[in-house]
Every structure is written in C-alpha cells, then in structure tokens.
C-alpha cells in the first residue's frame, strides 16, 4: 500500500490499537469485568492467612507488609527446594512456542501474556534475577526482572487469568505444566495477602461447615429431603437418602452446588434415582457435604486442610469405600493429592461394586470411585432399565471437563453412558475434546460475576466448537461432569451459542431410568413436559 495514504488512526482520531509493549513492561490495567475482587479480611482471618485488610486490585496502594519482597523471595526459595517440578519448570523451558497458542485465554483475548510460555515467564524472569548466577550478573541478557510492585500486580492479574486447566501442558515437549506455575504464583501472592474472594470465601466456609455456602447440617438435611420430595412428585417413587448413617457400605461425596444450584440439582436427582434403584447401601455425610475444594486454587497446604474431612468422615462413619459424584477439580484433588496428603486410606477397602462384582483396581489406593465409572459398569452389566427415548427432546454433545479428562483420563465412561441414555449424540471436533478439550474459561475460582468479560473471552474456543455442532447437527444440550462447568457454561452459551443448555450426565441417566414402581413420567427432571408415547406414534 502507498506510503502517503492517511493512516486509519489519523482518520479516526482514536487509538484503535493497543500500544506495542515490551513484554518486560509489567504495567497492567484492572478494568472492570476482567479481574476478580480481593478476598474479604474476615475470610483471611478465619483461615489464619497473612495480611487481612480491605483493598481492591484497582487501588494504587495494595497495603502490603513493608517486607513483602523478602516474604515473596523467601517463599520462592522454599518452594524451589520443596517442589522439584517447580525448579524444573523454571529451568528447562526452551521457548519453543509449542504451548503459545494453546491457551483459551490467549485464543480468546489475543493478549500475548496469556500465552502459557509468557505467563510462566512472569515468574521465571524473577527466578532468574534472584536465583541464577547469569540473572544476577547480566539481568537484561538473561531475561531477568527485578521484583517490583508492578511485577507483583502483574502476577496477580495473570495468575488469576489462568484456569489451571493444563491444556498447554499437553502440547509441551518437556511436559512443563504452566498450571503448576500459576498455582505456585498464587501461593506466593497469598503469602502477602493477595487473594480473591470467590476462592477464599468458599474455602473459609468449607473449613467451618464443610461446604462452600456455609450450609449447616440441618440445612444440608433439608436440602436433601427437598430433593427426595421433588423426586417423589416426578417419579412416584420415594427414594432413601441416608445422612450420617454409620456402617453404610459407601460414602457418597457430592459438590455442594448439586443441592443448591441449577442445573446441578437435576444431576443430584439422577444420582439419587440410580443409587435407589440398585439398592446401594450408602450414606451422605453432613460434614463432608462438599467434594469441591477451592484450597486447590489457594495453596498446597489449603488443599490438605480442606480435604481432610473426607477421609475423617469415611473413618467415622465406618464405610468401606467412597463414591464421588460429578465434579471437576474435586476429582483432581481426590485423584492426584488426597492419597499422599491425607492418606493412606488403609482403613477403607478396595472398592468393589456390590451389584456387579467389578473390582475398581484403578481406585486401589484412594479407595474412591468416580460415579461415571460406577454407572458405566452398571449399564455394561445391564443392571439398569433404560428408556433413551425420554431424552429425545435433547440432541447432545459432551464437553470433557479439564480435570476429569486431563488429570484422570476419564474420557470414555461418560460417553458410554450418554450413548446408552440418549438417542442423539454428536461429538465436537477432535481438537476440542478429550485431552485437548477447551476449558470453560471459569475454572480455578475465576467463575465470578465481576470477572464476566474475561470468562467470555476464555470460554470462546469452547463455545465456538459447541456452535459448530449446534449449527451442523442441531445440538441443544451440552452434557458435562463438572460442577463449575454447570455453574458457568450456561452463561457462556447464552452469550455465544444461544439455544444450547447444559446438563450433567446423571440428569440424563435419571430421565432415562425406568424405576420399579414408578408412575408414568409426565415430565423430565427439569419439570418440562414430555411428549406422551402415543402422540409421538401418531405424529
């Protein structure tokens, strides 16, 4: 194009392009809609975390302790010694760029610092400056940066813009897991009192009452009874849902959203139906009333503290093994941390399905079975009577939640169930499912209202693949097995792909399940009228 043409920005007199910046420049702008509010001091106090105070990320003064820099650097030194992986991740990245365009936040926002390699570099540059010889002597050459207040703010901005989904790690030839870098980043920030309320409030509540909303045992009991009553109305069958029943065979662990939010609740209904139908001897615990563990988004120590209740309650109630319901990060903790942090669970037995005799060898050490493994096994052994046509109003696709798919390889079981309980199922494109699945954009405690725009950016790659199957196959339901997904995907899809709803896998199982003694099902679990069979025939 000719040189003399007026530049578009001159024509418009507006700055349409973000100024080109060196990545070393740490300045960030906390604009409404793209960050999370700080944690309320009462929550830090309750948990005994340092530096409780009133502040917000957009404040000039973050009210840090005077020696904050020393605290952070010492914290870093500690963790470099304690976690070999952390030191490795700091040292071995060759900046090949294979991870660069794999993060949903980068794809959706276009912000280069959302490239996993640069996200980690924010921490790595400080590591080099203070912990490597080259960085101490030739900081500029070694890509080292001083730890300044601006750098700390930048950490907060970008480590709370990583959903710790681990998609990038799938593509890194060295297996560098940027999620773990973000986790350490958040731990360090917590040392000087910089954390977010959407994470710490549930943590404080869980620490007190066992669950995110702070619901006490009687409230929990009311919630479960409410579900039992509703089920009786829908199905004509009154299910048993024992709470704190000593000596039951199995402890059932659910994310608390299952009994206070929708569409989670319909999944709980489906779960109760299945367990009733097979006559499993199980119990809820009114203290282990939450599988979710936002400690995972705070620090390693907090994971352990919040998770301890699960084995404690299993011990107290003298169950044989634990059955975990549909939840994402809960499973990351159960599968990857619980055994070493809170185990060994030698007081439990190796899980065996009392209905089919299947031995869940994969759960040998944690003694905790995923409900999708359990139900898939029931279906495989033909222990459930199913009428898939009751889900004919849905054309379904499956979203692999990051944690079950990437952290525990739970990929085929939910699909096997779905194909047995619905007649219309279509996969999204291969590069967006299974291990390569795109995050909902709201995981790791970022699913809050004030962070809405950032969530819409981060969730766009997922929504884009949903749009493809909606337009191509008429998909109108996205099934998933994660409580955060169920909380945040409905909003994501309302924005990007109107007309597609979200459901748990066990909601669809519940719809299809033919129960002994049930009345004719007039509605699905959502209370939506089903078309009676005869009308379908005549139609």
């Amino acid at each position: 194009m000719a040189e003399q043409t007026p530049k578009p920005e001159q024509l418009l007199q507006i700055d349409y392009r973000p100024p080109a910046k060196d990545w070393r420049d740490p300045t960030v702008e906390f604009r409404k809609g793209v960050f999370c509010y700080s944690a309320a001091p009462k929550n830090l106090e309750y948990l005994g975390l340092p530096n409780p105070r009133k502040w917000q990320p957009y404040d000039e003064d973050w009210k840090l302790p005077p020696n904050w820099k020393q605290i952070i650097l010492e914290g870093m030194r500690d963790r470099l010694q304690k976690f070999r992986s952390f030191r490795l991740f700091m040292d071995i990245c060759v900046r090949c760029g294979a991870c660069a365009d794999k993060c949903h936040f980068y794809i959706g926002s276009g912000d280069p610092k959302n490239m996993p390699v640069l996200r980690a570099e924010l921490l790595r540059s400080v590591y080099r400056r203070y912990f490597t010889l080259a960085g101490r002597l030739f900081p500029a050459l070694a890509g080292a940066r001083d730890l300044t207040l601006q750098v700390l703010k930048e950490w907060f901005y970008y480590f709370y813009q990583c959903t710790e989904c681990r998609r990038c790690s799938v593509f890194c030839p060295y297996g560098i897991d940027t999620a773990e870098v973000s986790m350490i980043g958040r731990e360090l920030l917590t040392l000087v009192g910089c954390n977010i309320n959407w994470v710490l409030e549930p943590v404080a509540n869980s620490y007190r009452t066992g669950n995110h909303l702070g619901i006490q045992p009687h409230g929990f009991k009311d919630s479960i009874e409410f579900a039992v009553d509703e089920l009786a109305e829908i199905t004509g069958v009154r299910v048993e849902a024992p709470i704190n029943k000593k000596g039951a065979e199995v402890l059932l662990l659910v994310p608390s959203a299952d009994y206070f939010g929708t569409p989670h609740y319909f999944t709980l209904l489906g779960t109760l139906m299945v367990l009733h139908e097979i006559g499993l001897d199980y119990t809820f615990s009114a203290f282990a009333s939450e599988g979710g563990n936002f400690g995972l988004f705070t620090s390693h120590e907090m994971i352990k503290r919040i998770n301890a209740k699960i084995y404690e309650e299993a011990k107290r109630l003298k169950v044989k093994w634990i059955l975990g319901a549909e939840c994402g990060h809960m499973w990351r903790v159960l599968h990857q941390y619980m055994d070493t942090m809170n185990g060994p669970a030698d007081f439990l037995e190796e899980p065996v399905s009392p209905i089919t005799g299947t031995r869940f060898e994969n759960a040998k050490s944690t003694r905790t079975v995923h409900i999708c493994e359990f139900t898939a096994d029931l279906i495989h052994h033909r222990k459930l009577a199913l009428d898939a046509s009751r889900n004919d109003h849905w054309t379904v696709t499956f979203h692999d939640s990051c944690n079950p798919s990437r952290a525990m390889g739970l990929i085929e079981e939910p699909r096997y169930i779905l194909k047995n309980v619905c007649n219309h199922f279509h996969e999204m494109p291969e590069s967006t499912i299974r291990e390569q699945t795109f995050c909902c954009g709201s995981g790791s405690g970022l699913g809050t209202d004030e962070n809405f725009e950032m969530r819409m950016r981060g969730g766009f790659p997922r929504a884009n693949a949903v749009k493809y199957v909606r337009d191509r196959f008429g998909v109108n339901l996205l099934a998933c097995i994660c409580a955060i997904d169920k909380a945040t995907l409905p909003a994501l899809l309302e924005y990007w792909v109107p007309g597609v709803e979200v459901a748990g896998v066990h909601e669809l199982v519940g719809n299809a399940l033919i129960m002994k003694g049930e009345k004719e099902r007039g509605t699905d679990l959502r209370g939506e009228a089903l078309t009676p069979k005869e009308e379908l025939v005549h139609a």
């Binding site: 973000p18 609740y265 950016r457």
Partner: protein, 208 residues
C-alpha cells in the same frame, strides 16, 4: 435507495474483491498485538483460531454488501459474529467497531493504485455511505451484546442458588456481594434475548 447497478468504480473494486478482503483483514488483525496478529492471520484451523476464522469468514459477506448492496440478514449475521467477539475483548466501544472504517483507506488506496486517482465522486459517496451504515449497524450490535452480557449475569446469579431460594420460598435475590443483594434479580427477566436487526430506513441493503 441508490442505484446498485454496474458502475465503473464498483466494477474496478469487484475485480479486486479478494485483494480488498485480504488487506482489510490484515489491517483489522493489526488492531491486535503483533504476535497475535500473525497468529490470527496464519492459523487456518477454525477451532484452533476461532477469532481469526470468524473474521475471515465474515469479511467477504461484508464486502459484497458494500460493493453490491446485499440482503440485511446475512450482513447482520456476519457482523454480529465479529462484534460479539470484540465486545468482550480489551477494546473501548469505539475501538471495537473501528475496524469497519479501516475499509475506507483500503478502498481508496486500491483505487489510487488502479489508476483511478479521481474516481467518480458519486460512486465514492455511495461506497462511503454504505460503510458508514455498516458501522452504525456494528454499533447497534455492540450495544446489544453489552446489554445481553448484563442480562446473562443477572440470570446466572439466580441460577447459582436457585434451589436454596426455591426451598426457602424466596423467588430470587441478587447474590452479588458487591451489590449487597439489592433485589435486582426480582425483576422479571426476559427470555433468552433475541437480537433484533436494526430496521433503519437509512440502511441501503435490499430487503428480502
């Protein structure tokens, strides 16, 4: 409605259709940081690069509208896809829709290079007006997106504790702690927002 028949200027531009699209795309991608601009342009897999692919697919529709006049529906759909993305990215309202105006210098440069240094003023006026209309449409769509965001947020807050509220016989209270539960969610919430195409009489597109 203007004459949409063949005109030398329009014909010259129609012949350069794909060059215009390429140049306009390149300039629009350069409203993103440098590395990102390259990624948006080069990665052709629509699932790995949904932003770039959405723009790449939509621009030909917009160009056809500007050059030939076109039906409102596909134009609105194409434009909506782009604006929906830019409405949640790091842009001000003006920056979000400014990419439309980048088309003007693209066309002007092309005409100049094609030896049309002083092209027919009427034809140019028609072109520029169509581009302006496109920009107005984009702004309407942008506002719709922002409204939709707020509506969705309110609904989400309600869904999160819907069962608790139902159990307590309360029909909804905004759970946002910053708002201290201000009752916002008690107001009737419209169903899934429907995008209404602006039906401005100034729009030059042929109606179906």
């Amino acid at each position: 409605m203007e004459d949409q028949g063949a005109h030398p200027v329009m014909e010259a531009l129609a012949a350069k259709r794909s060059a215009i699209i390429q140049e306009w795309l390149a300039r629009t991608f350069h409203t993103y940081p440098e590395h990102t601009a390259r990624f948006l342009l080069q990665e052709t897999d629509p699932f790995r690069n949904p932003v770039g692919s959405t723009l790449t697919a939509a621009f030909p529709v917009l160009i056809d509208a500007v050059l030939g006049g076109a039906d409102a529906a596909p134009v609105t759909g194409a434009l909506d896809g782009i604006v929906r993305i830019r409405a949640v990215q790091d842009f001000t309202a003006a920056q979000a829709v400014a990419f439309i105006f980048l088309l003007k210098p693209v066309i002007r440069d092309l005409l100049k290079n094609a030896g049309q240094a002083a092209p027919d003023r009427d034809a140019l006026a028609v072109l520029e007006r169509r581009i302006d209309e496109l920009a107005l449409l984009a702004f309407d769509l942008f506002m719709k997106c922002r409204e939709r965001l707020y509506e969705i947020r309110v609904r989400e807050a309600r869904r999160r504790v819907k069962i608790l509220l139902k159990r307590r016989g309360v029909e909804g209270r905004n759970a946002d702690p910053e708002n201290g539960g201000n009752g916002e969610a008690n107001r009737p919430i419209p169903d899934s927002p429907v995008l209404r195409f602006p039906d401005s009489p100034t729009l030059g597109w042929k109606r179906p």
